[in-house]
Amino acid sequence: MFVKSYKITEPKCFEIFLEDINEVDVLVRPEYLAICKADIRYYLGNRERTVLKRKFPMSLVHEGIGVVARDKNRNFKPGQRVVMVPCEKAECDGTKCSSCVRSYDYLLDNYCPKSSFRSSNADGFSKEMINMKTDYLLPIPDCIGEEAVFSELISVGCCALRRANLWGKKVEEISVWGDGIMGYIIALVAHYGLGAKVNVMGINREKLKMFDFASTFLVNDLSALPQTAVCIEAVGGNASADAINQAIDSVFSGGTIILCGVAGENAPINTRMILEKGLTLVGSTRSNTGDFAKALELLEIDEFRKRILRLIEGVDVVDNIRKYYEAFENASRSDSLGKRIIKLVF
C-alpha cells in the first residue's frame, strides 16, 4: 500500500516520500509524536558528515503513540491506541557473533548491534502508516491520554532503575543530577516507582521549581545535600563530567551511579575516588518493551500522570510539511523543560 512520510535528506531539509510498503504484522497510524534531542541533532546536522550521509534519507522521531489501523493476527482492534516501541530485535539464528549480547539478559534487544532503532538506523515514526511487529506495541489504558507520548522517556527512566536492580527494593533516597526533561522524568520514576525521597541537582531555578515532589539544590551549593547509596546522572553534554564528579563525591562508599546522559566529549571523571569508594557505574539509555510496560503502569498513577502532563506545552497539528519544519525549528530553539507535541495528520 502507498504510504506518505517525511524524511530528512540533508540537514534542515525534509522531503515528502511516497512508498509502497508491505504489511508485516500490525499497521499503525502514528498519531502523537515528540521530537527529542537526537532528532534535533540530525535536523541541525550536528553529527559527523559521513554518519549523516550513511543514515539519510530517514524519517525522524522515535517517541510516539499511534492508532492501530489493521492487525493481520487480530491481537489488536482497529482504532486501538498503542505505544510504539522504537527498538526492534534483529532476527537471530542463535549463532553467537563477536558482538553477541544474548548472554547478558539485562541488556536485551536494544544492545545487539544488529538491532534497529527508529530514527537512528531505521525510519522513525514520521509516517502516515507504519508497519510494526506485535511484540513492539503496547495497548494504552483508557485513563492515559496523549501524555503516553512520553512513554519512551519514562521507559528510559524505568530502564535505569532496572539496570541498577532497584525495582522491588526498598530505596530510601536517590539523588538525580539534571534539571532537564530526562532528569525530571527519572526523578518522577524514582519517586513514584520506588517510593524514594528524591534530591535533584540543577542550574536553573525556574526549572527546579517544577520538581515540587523532590528536594532541589543548585549545583554550586550542595553543602546540604545528604549522601545517598544511588545517584543518577541525567545531564549529558559538556556538563556531564561535573555532574558525575559531584555524584562520585556524594554517593556512599559501595554505592551505585547510573549514567543516563550522553556526554558531549570524553568526560574527565575522578576515577581515583571511584576506586577508593568501590563504586559501581552503570550505563543506561536504551530501554526495551518491558521498560515501556513499566512506564505505562506508572502512567496509570494519577499523581505521576498529572506531573507528566505538565511537560506538554501544547499540541501542534502537523498536516503539511511546512508545519513539520516549524515543529523542528521550534524544538531546536526551545530551552524549556517540557515539549510541544505533534499531532500528525497525513
Binding site: L18, R29, K72, G79, D319
Partner: protein
C-alpha cells in the same frame, strides 16, 4: 456506519491499453484498484466497502480481494453505462444495510494516492453538512472558451477549485438526489460528470474537504508514469 464506494467500472480508453481498464493495471505488482481499496481498508473510520466494476472483472477482483487479505469489501456491484448508473447501483447494493445518516464516501478507483486525512475530512464534513466534495485550489489561471478557439473569459482564480474525489454524502441525501435524477426520462436528465453535481442540483449545501495534488487521477499513460515515478520502494 461509514461506507466507501469505489467506482471501478470505467473502461480507461484514454490509456490506450486494449486488454484491461486502467484501474486493473498493476503498479509495482499490485492492481491500482487494490491500492485504492487498501487506503480505505486501513482507515479505522471506514466500516465497509462496496466496489463497482464490470461483470467481466468481478472474478479477478474477488481473487485479488482474497489474495491481498482485504476484509471490509462487503459488496461487489455491477458497473452501469454511466458514472451515475454505477453510483446508483452502489446505492442499491448497500440499501438493505445503510441507514439515512450513514456516510457514503464515493471514490474513483483510479486515484490510488488518496491520503487518510482526505478520507477523514470527508467523513467529518459530510457528517457536518450532509454532503462534501474534495477540492484543491486552482493554481493556474483558468480560461473559459465556448468554442475552443477563442477566449471568452478569465474567471477569478481565487473563486476556483478543482474537484477530486472522494465525494461524500449522508445516505438519505444522495439517495434522494439519485432517485429524483433517475425519475426523469433519460433525455431530460442533465449531463453530470460527478455525484456532487447531482446532489447540488437537488439544492443541498455541500461542504469542501481539502484535497491534495498527490490525489491525482490516473487518466492517461503520462499519469501512470507520474504516479510510478513518485513512489519509492520502502527500505
Amino acid at each position: 456506519m461509514n461506507i466507501a464506494v469505489i467506482l471501478a467500472g470505467g473502461t480507461g480508453s484514454r490509456m490506450g491499453m486494449v486488454d484491461r481498464p486502467k484501474q486493473f493495471i498493476e503498479i509495482y505488482g499490485k492492481p491500482v484498484v487494490i491500492h485504492t481499496i487498501e487506503a480505505f481498508e486501513i482507515n479505522e473510520k471506514i466500516d465497509a466497502i462496496c466496489v463497482i466494476c464490470t461483470k467481466e472483472w468481478q472474478e479477478d477482483l474477488s481473487i485479488w480481494i482474497k489474495e491481498y487479505d482485504i476484509r471490509k469489501v462487503r459488496w461487489i456491484g455491477n458497473a452501469g453505462r454511466t458514472r451515475q448508473e454505477s453510483s446508483l447501483n452502489a446505492l442499491d447494493a448497500i440499501k438493505d444495510d445503510a441507514t439515512g445518516d450513514d456516510i457514503i464516501i464515493i471514490h474513483d478507483s483510479a486515484r490510488p494516492l488518496i491520503s487518510q486525512r482526505i478520507i477523514n475530512e470527508n467523513i467529518e464534513k459530510a457528517t457536518q453538512f450532509g454532503a462534501c466534495d474534495t477540492v484543491i485550489p486552482a493554481q493556474d489561471t483558468v480560461i473559459r472558451s465556448l468554442d475552443g478557439e477563442h477566449l471568452d473569459s478569465i474567471p477569478a482564480r481565487h473563486e476556483l477549485y478543482l474537484g477530486q474525489t472522494p465525494q461524500s454524502f449522508k445516505y438519505s441525501i444522495v439517495r434522494k438526489a439519485y432517485d429524483d435524477y433517475f425519475s426523469k426520462p433519460e433525455n431530460e436528465r442533465p449531463v453530470m460528470t460527478d455525484d456532487c453535481g447531482l446532489v447540488l442540483a437537488s439544492g443541498v449545501e455541500i461542504g469542501m474537504a481539502m484535497g491534495d495534488k498527490l490525489n491525482m487521477k490516473m487518466t492517461t499513460m503520462e499519469d501512470l508514469l507520474l504516479i510510478k515515478s513518485i513512489i519509492r520502494t520502502s527500505r
